[in-house]
Amino acid sequence: MTTEPLATPPKRKTRNFALLSNRAGAAFMLPAGLLVSVFVIVPFFWVIFVSFTNRTLIGATALNPQFVGLGNYLALFDPATFFQRGQFGFSLILTTQFVLASALLGQALLGLLLAWLIQTVPPWIKRITETFVIAAWILPEVVIGFAWFAFLDYDNGTFNMLLESLGLPPGDFLLQQPFWVIVVFNTWRGAAFSMMLFNSAFSSIPPSYFQAADVAGASSWQKFRDIGLPLIRGHIVTDLILITMWTFNTFTPFLLTNGGPSYRTELVSIYNYRVAFQDFQFGKGAAVGVIMMLINLAFALIYLSLGRKRAPK
């Protein structure tokens, strides 16, 4: 080691040493910056603009849309039709119920239960259970949609076969209970994420906590309530926000029910698709998109503020 001063001027380097100069850094960011700008940031502002026009997919207003002010929003929130089937309000309420039932109750609770169960069961049961839960999550949505279509078929489906073998009456659930079908479907589809998140949260708790509880003779429920649950509270909040956002935006139930029968499973994402691409009303569809994004924004801000509080880097 030499104590001689370096030949190069030391001032610039000691002040704020970075491996990559600002110019090189900017060049490295450029491709990603362009792609994200065009396909994420521009759509955000463009959809706001389009929502104030009467743009359509075909016809005269496709090329020369007119400015209609708040017209699209007033149509969406028209109190005379708001709650009717196939209208925006119905769809929004349906989606809220869907998120509450399938994400907050279904996925989160089932994921929590599974994560807790697989902490203690023999490894081979853990592996088999995990495999199927994760398979439900990673397989392509089209395949899953068709699998459930076959599963619930009235005449031959596996589910009715099972019900009959248990002495229960079969049912045409896709027609009779479409809402509960998509609730169970989405719970089944997405529980894996919550399970894995909670599983890694539980694994990060020092085993000595549970051993001490064992010595004191605590039951599994007591350990869950008094040790497991309080220590993973942060993870639960993260999980709830993420699955709420994903469930709110999901389009997958379309592949099972097409939004029907008679709009009974028309979530806002499916409503948006129908208005824009089947009724060709782009302006109105854009207004739906704006409202969806505002709701997403609210959840994202909550999520980011929580993240900042927890990780003050």
């Binding site: 090189a24 491709p31 910056g33 994200v36 396909f39 199927f132 395949v143 078929d153």
Partner: protein, 276 residues
């Protein structure tokens, strides 16, 4: 350690419950283990008699079906190359340079990427692709997915690069390497596992997606398998079950293979990320 009787019973009850839930998750999928190999498959569960590969022969004889798998491959691969390359460069810059406003950029990206979902932004995405004159092309799907998946890919990679000591590249630069050389010859090989994870995640996302190709593509020559699968419906709208089952199985295989590969290699749990 000795186990008391109640604890033993409790453990059995736990195992039974876990197995029961596992079985409930398996039920809707079991049909897929049999129907593709059954020449007379219907929507009901039936053991094939005899087992046959005829359905697969028919699928591979259908040029449209094969073309669709190829289209899925082109779109997923194209998207993955773009996402992998652009995300690696950007994440490296976010981690190693001191560009002013780095934190703000990260925050804004996180915010936008979770707000602008595919189902909320379908109208403007359609209009942008239409304005760019690339409607009904592979490029349209590739670019849209690259843009949508990039923010999440960048965060995963930035965290990964942050965890690598800077001294690797510093020592290379002391030895006379330029910053760019230090990136390509020293940092890149170390980051590679992170890139593999991001690439697999992006591939699975694009390969399995339905909505974006569904609205951006028109001609059957460009349709990926996720949309083309609906061609196995008869004129009356009822599914041709034998072909659909076999096709769905073929179409699922890459996803399963990639998942097994990644969990074998990294013990990695898929992180859902933002679905575009």
């Amino acid at each position: 350690m000795k186990i008391s009787l109640p604890a033993f019973v409790g453990r059995i009850a736990f195992s039974a419950l876990a197995a029961l839930i596992g079985a409930a998750f398996a039920l809707p999928l079991i049909w897929f283990l049999f129907a593709p190999f059954n020449a007379r498959a219907e929507l009901g569960l039936a053991i094939p008699d005899p087992w046959t590969l005829n359905n697969f022969v028919t699928v591979f004889g259908n040029s449209y079906a094969v073309q669709a798998l190829w289209n899925s491959f082109i779109q997923a691969t194209g998207g993955v190359i773009l996402v992998g390359a652009a995300a690696t460069l950007a994440a490296y810059a976010l981690s190693r340079s001191s560009i002013p406003g780095k934190g703000a950029v990260t925050y804004t990206l996180l915010l936008f990427s979770s707000v602008v979902s595919g189902s909320a932004a379908m109208v403007p995405i359609f209009l942008i692709i239409s304005a760019a004159g690339i409607m009904d092309t592979h490029v349209a799907v590739i670019l849209t997915f690259a843009g949508g998946l990039l923010p999440t890919a960048m965060f995963i990679l930035r965290d990964f690069i942050d965890s690598i000591p800077k001294s690797y590249e510093e020592s290379a630069m002391v030895a006379g390497a330029s910053p760019v050389q230090a990136f390509f010859d020293v940092a890149l090989p170390v980051i590679r596992p992170g890139i593999v994870v991001v690439v697999v995640w992006a591939f699975v996302n694009i390969w399995g997606s339905f909505l974006i190709p569904f609205i951006l593509l028109r001609s059957s020559d460009n349709m990926p398998a996720s949309v083309a699968i609906y061609s196995f419906y008869s004129e009356a709208g009822t599914p041709i079950v034998t072909l659909l089952a076999a096709y769905a199985l073929i179409y699922s295989l890459p996803v399963v293979a990639l998942y097994l590969f990644v969990s074998w290699k990294f013990g990695f749990r898929f992180f859902g990320g933002i679905k575009a």
